[in-house]
């Protein structure tokens, strides 16, 4: 019997610290990858095509033409419930800020894709597992409202473990808040695309991720409502390998497209070219790249 992947990876020696800056081990095939090559390949393994989870700013850089006008970054987390479990919530936030270089689990703003001005939101799993608390809800809502004001298309990249436990029901209510914003935005005839990246589950998947005009799953992403472990515990049996994968969702008819990271920008541009009425956004185009507020 061949050795299972996880065991093989476990047995392989870890990369010595001094080399870590230069080399990265693929989390799927174990291949040692030269960091520069990996970055040039948008954090996709050159050997097995494994898609590493991508930093929000790297993602933005890989998509937009030049400048990115970030908005909503003044919206910062508090601790509405005074939450403590193993550690106080405040400490967890501090640790995630240091680890990710982000102020919250989503970055929102404006930029252009091949000249198309868009409102762009990118979630990052490195910050509290991409969970949606009040800040994610508020930033996403704010982005949709500002995009609506400018009649711009909106693209959101999701990556989320669901609603953020540490903010209790205030977090759950962000599903309602973002839904109302999405509905209002789309009802005005503005295109809304979502790109579901690894992983997209729970409250995010059951709200704006699946409310868009076009739903793209990034290749290899795991997407679902309940987490794998929850389902396995409920039904007490092992799930098939491809369960909740991007390809599984495509086969079941849940998403429009599965797109490799390398092809993402080109695909979005193609879709924007079909979906966007250039006359409609003409006034905004004049304001690029500042997207100045009226």
């Amino acid at each position: 019997m061949p050795m299972p992947d996880w065991l093989r990876l476990l047995r392989e020696k870890d990369v010595p610290a001094e080399d870590a800056a230069l080399w990265v081990k693929c989390l799927s095939c174990g291949e040692m990858l030269y960091r520069k090559d990996l970055e040039a390949n948008l954090s996709v393994c050159t050997k097995c095509n494994y898609h590493f989870r991508m930093h929000a700013y790297d993602r933005i850089n890989s998509l937009i033409d030049a400048d990115f006008v970030e908005i909503g970054n003044e919206i910062l987390p508090g601790d509405p419930l005074g939450w403590t479990d193993k550690r106080p919530y405040e400490q967890k936030l501090e640790a995630d800020r240091a680890k990710s270089g982000l102020s919250e689990a989503v970055v929102t703003g404006f930029g252009t894709l091949e000249g198309f001005p868009v409102a762009l939101g990118v979630m990052d799993f490195n910050f509290r597992g991409g969970t949606m608390g009040t800040v994610v809800g508020e930033r996403v809502t704010h982005l949709l409202e500002e995009a609506r004001r400018r009649k711009l298309p909106c693209i959101i990249f999701t990556a989320s473990g669901g609603a953020r436990m540490e903010e209790g029901m205030l977090a759950l209510m962000q599903m309602a808040k973002t839904t109302l914003a999405v509905e209002r935005f789309m009802n005005d005839g503005n295109p809304f695309f979502t790109v579901l990246t690894d992983p997209t589950t729970g409250g995010v998947s059951a709200s704006f991720a699946f409310q868009s005009d076009i739903i793209i799953a990034e290749a290899r992403a795991s997407i679902g409502f309940a987490g794998r472990r929850v389902i396995e515990q409920t039904i007490r049996q092992k799930l098939p390998e491809n369960f909740q994968t991007a390809d599984f969702l495509l086969e079941k008819g849940h998403v429009d497209l599965v797109v490799k990271r390398m092809d993402m920008r080109a695909t979005l541009i193609r879709l924007l070219d079909y979906a966007v009425d250039r006359k409609r956004i003409a006034p905004v185009l004049k304001a690029v790249p500042e997207f100045a507020l009226q």
Partner: protein
């Protein structure tokens, strides 16, 4: 094991039995009965006057608690409408035309079972995507006929099975939410027992959210939350404490709008009476909402949820020329 059921055993049950026998025999003087009843009320107060969040969770799951079926039976009439038009009829989330004190409404209800057999039929109140798609269809029906939507929430959560994933549970819940965001008719949701996460919210994005005093409404079940945070479901009581899932907590946050007080010891102590009070409250809220135009209902709904977790902020934007990486 239900903590409340356990506590009801012993002295309270004995006292209850004594009062019943005394009444039935008709031998005891009315003063004696009154004395015992007084003692009974005192004991109820001692046992249930102040409940911890974890005890509230058990109250919400009490085996005798009035269920959605009891509320449906107390309506003037209920004409159940079935199916999602695609795949099957879900038995956990039901709905249809109904009349509430003469008023025509569309009702949506999450149904748990009273016994094992019924629970299996109702999938323990956990709706599948087909249930949410049926709910969405009925919401649209309500909008077309200008009928208010009344929902009764009682679920530990949406069904987490393989088939539910295959049939896009996320999308089903997401489109219920979108539909409720859209409809120009009054929406009144009542959390009658357990409000379990997104599966509950799917029918509770409402103009008015009513909650039974001992119902709970939370982002995750205390057991699930404890398992995630401490890797130990046994720490659920602590999780219940932290989640702020009780009606008074949620009223404070503006997440619910109104609490219906329960009889001392819980809604099951006077189930028929309590059901009527809940229906009164729903009627009361509908009366207010019915005066509003579709546009102002939608606007009000937007503003209501917009405020939850909102910030006072000065809008400022800046251009990041070199995106930090």
């Amino acid at each position: 094991m239900n903590l409340i059921v356990e506590r009801e055993k012993g002295p309270l049950q004995e006292l209850e039995a004594r009062i019943v026998t005394l009444r039935e025999r008709g031998s005891g003087s009315s003063a004696d009965v009154a004395l015992l009843e007084e003692k009974y009320r005192e004991l109820l107060g001692d046992l249930f006057g102040k409940l911890t969040p974890w005890e509230r969770v058990h109250m919400a799951r009490h085996p005798k608690r009035p269920l959605a079926g009891d509320y449906l039976a107390a309506l003037d009439s209920f004409e159940e409408l079935h199916g999602d038009r695609h795949f099957r009829d879900d038995h956990a989330l039901v709905g249809g035309f109904a009349k509430l004190r003469g008023r025509r409404i569309v009702v949506l209800a999450q149904r748990k079972g009273r016994d094992t057999k019924e629970n299996i039929y109702r999938n323990f109140g956990m709706a599948s995507p087909e249930g949410y798609r049926k709910a969405k269809r009925l919401m649209e029906l309500a909008a077309r006929f200008r009928l208010p939507i009344v929902s009764l929430v009682d679920t530990s959560g949406a069904d987490p099975g393989i088939a539910s994933e295959e049939h896009a549970q996320s999308e089903a819940i997401a489109s219920c939410l979108t539909t409720l965001a859209k409809v120009g008719v009054p929406v009144v949701a009542t959390i009658i027992g357990e409000g379990g996460s997104g599966g509950a919210l799917a029918i509770a994005l409402a103009d008015t959210v009513i909650m039974a005093e001992n119902a709970v409404y939370s982002v995750a079940s205390p057991e699930g939350c404890a398992a995630i945070l401490w890797g130990d479901a046994a720490r659920a009581p602590e999780a219940a404490e932290r989640l702020r899932l009780t009606s008074d907590d949620l009223l404070g946050f503006g997440i619910i709008d109104r609490i219906v007080k329960e009889p001392l010891g819980g809604a099951h102590r006077d189930a028929p009476g309590f059901v009527q009070i809940v229906l009164d409250t729903i009627e009361d809220e509908l009366r207010v909402l019915e005066t509003k135009t579709p546009a102002s209902l939608r606007e009000g709904r937007y503003e209501k949820f917009r405020r939850i977790g909102a910030w006072e902020r000065e809008l400022r934007t800046h251009v990041v020329t070199a995106v930090p990486s």
